[in-house]
Symmetry: C2
Subunit: 427 residues, 2 copies
Amino acid sequence: MSQLVGNLLVAQSGGPTSAINASIAGVITEAGRHPDCIEEIYGGLNGIYGILNEELIDIQEEQQASIDALRYTPAAALGTCRYKIDFKRNPEKASQDMDRLFQVFQAHNIRYFFYAGGNDSQDTSHKIHEESVKRGWDMRVIGVPKTIDNDLPHTDSCPGYGSAIKYCATTVREVGMDVASMATDDGSCCIIEVMGRSAGWIAAGTVLAKGGLPENPPHIILLPEIQYNVDEFIAKVKSTIEAYGYCVVVVGEGIKNKEGEEIGADKTRLDAFGHPVLAGAAEILKEYIQEKLNTKTRTVMLGYAQRAAAHWASLTDTNNGFACGESAVRAAIQGQSGYMVKIIRQAGSNGSVEWSTGLQPLSDIANVEHFVPREWISEDGYLPNDQFVEYARPLVEGEVRPRMVDGLPAYAQLSKVRIDKVLAPRG
Amino acid sequence: MSQLVGNLLVAQSGGPTSAINASIAGVITEAGRHPDCIEEIYGGLNGIYGILNEELIDIQEEQQASIDALRYTPAAALGTCRYKIDFKRNPEKASQDMDRLFQVFQAHNIRYFFYAGGNDSQDTSHKIHEESVKRGWDMRVIGVPKTIDNDLPHTDSCPGYGSAIKYCATTVREVGMDVASMATDDGSCCIIEVMGRSAGWIAAGTVLAKGGLPENPPHIILLPEIQYNVDEFIAKVKSTIEAYGYCVVVVGEGIKNKEGEEIGADKTRLDAFGHPVLAGAAEILKEYIQEKLNTKTRTVMLGYAQRAAAHWASLTDTNNGFACGESAVRAAIQGQSGYMVKIIRQAGSNGSVEWSTGLQPLSDIANVEHFVPREWISEDGYLPNDQFVEYARPLVEGEVRPRMVDGLPAYAQLSKVRIDKVLAPRG
């Protein structure tokens, strides 16, 4: 094991989750245990986007209470971005960006770099790791997993996912009880739209609201992984209403029509990665149901609330997020680089689940999407089965209790003391 | 005080709230303290709708643990309805309904009747009270206030409202932090749509998320009470993004355009009371913003989640709901009838707020809507002011802690043991 002495830089990327700040708290906490290797602990503001502009803060200026509160604070406390270093589409700009990044790393003697994010961010980490080797800049690069979408491969689960489904399943249970309690002559339907562009993990996770009882909502879960038939779907809504008087449908935003097109896609708008910005799968299903069944149908679109609902985060999830941060630093101190931390599940005593962490080469992770396995979904495709429930249930265990002030959660606000810039502004 | 001995019937009506079951628990708990007057405690399923069909349950068959759990259980545990006895529109049917209701009351010796609901339900209670006098059926009728809309007059607030704004303000804070943390070159906007057809109490309540700081979200709150100008609104969004890099807008579903029409109204669908079913004010504002400012804009539509989010209910609110139920029974035992229980706010010691209850004649309540006072809104109309904050803040104090099983809240499920029907089925 080689002793590498220098500064640490941690940053966040992609859509926030309720657990991403817990991971940062883990990095910071573990870093503080290695003063022999880690001299300064810096935060990069808004991920790569801010680092390119040399926007760094001094984490050691933050109050310990703020670092502690990061364990239950939503959003990205360091700021985040959707910025891609894309050698395929724009090799010239990507090279310039990479040069600039390494100017920043060298100017501030960054020897430990931790990047918390999803697929695209792991890809960025991977490229930075490769560049550091190529350029002979001795720097340890470890990716920290983060995504409510739960679509990173090789890890049992992704920090952020357990909290997202704890909140979404709770909401589905509550909304389902509300809809069930309203008597109507001709039944009613409610459609709850959740995130998940390609992978249906969040939609699937709401099956926990059933508590194992077929009559409980959600009655139908539509996953992007499955090819649905509209007529069959409508028939299923109809038979559910006949059986229970109402029907609660959960839909992943990215479900596709027969032609393989996302039914909620507004193709006129693209995000920074060139994907269509989605909205409205629930509204379109509502139109179908009202047209075909003439059933009063309401929709709920949780949107960003589902990834930001830290007031109802899963303690298991935020603990796993924290552990990933700690583990990333330990691995780097031990000389590892070019890995993503992964979560490993083990059977504990008396049926409990125990969690540990491991490492997976970033080259195995970048841009690979992990989908809900077909064998975890019922034969007809409309509900995850017991195997899925066995997987998902331990992820929502335990409650985070944020500090409350005036009846509302008081989340961490970092003071963000800037590090002096030493480079000329980016051209 | 006349001693009236007989059975009690309690029922729920209108849209559920997170506190309506707490009120029922209060009725049941207080009723149990008066065995000399109250012989049997019945629940009417689905309000008037079920009572007309003689759908009654025996509350004394429920487990005490279930009654206790009602204090934090969402939806309407007895079931609810939107059924109006409308003497103006359909006098013949209304007379038949009233005859039938009194057949049910008499068949089951109902001498105490409690109805928890909003404006329309208080109107129903008022009519039942008047009919009981007219028909010489000695029965005490007390309305129990309930509505997230907070639009009942004469009461400080309505049980359900404090919980709705605790949840909505928390969500706005969390979503606002999420939006703020995402760096963009050209700013971003998020619009959160909340309930409130005519009165903007819920939208206004999200101002608590600001914690008194102008830079904190929400930056703009659009109330149905105020006539807005689209160009001025767009300019306000623009200047907010220039100042803070992002803008969070909260909109009450019922906001109106220059012509006084609800901008989100889908006029092709009407509810049971002939009002248009609203949806989409946020989507329409999003279109404006994207068209005029070309700013990436996301929406959140909480829908039923905001009235069902018992996992994050306000303890003050559910305690007030419980106290209203208790107070209703005490008033009836003391010989009162034809009143709604109201909540009274008093200054406590060291700046705290103390709550008590009182009575208001139902004739003062029925079909009167209470709006956010103009003097509680900033001059430009875009934010509630400090007077509003002083009013709303005590309503969100305290947390309800539902029992948790497998990481999700375990809510009360009544066993609903039916009372034998003694009447011929309704014609």
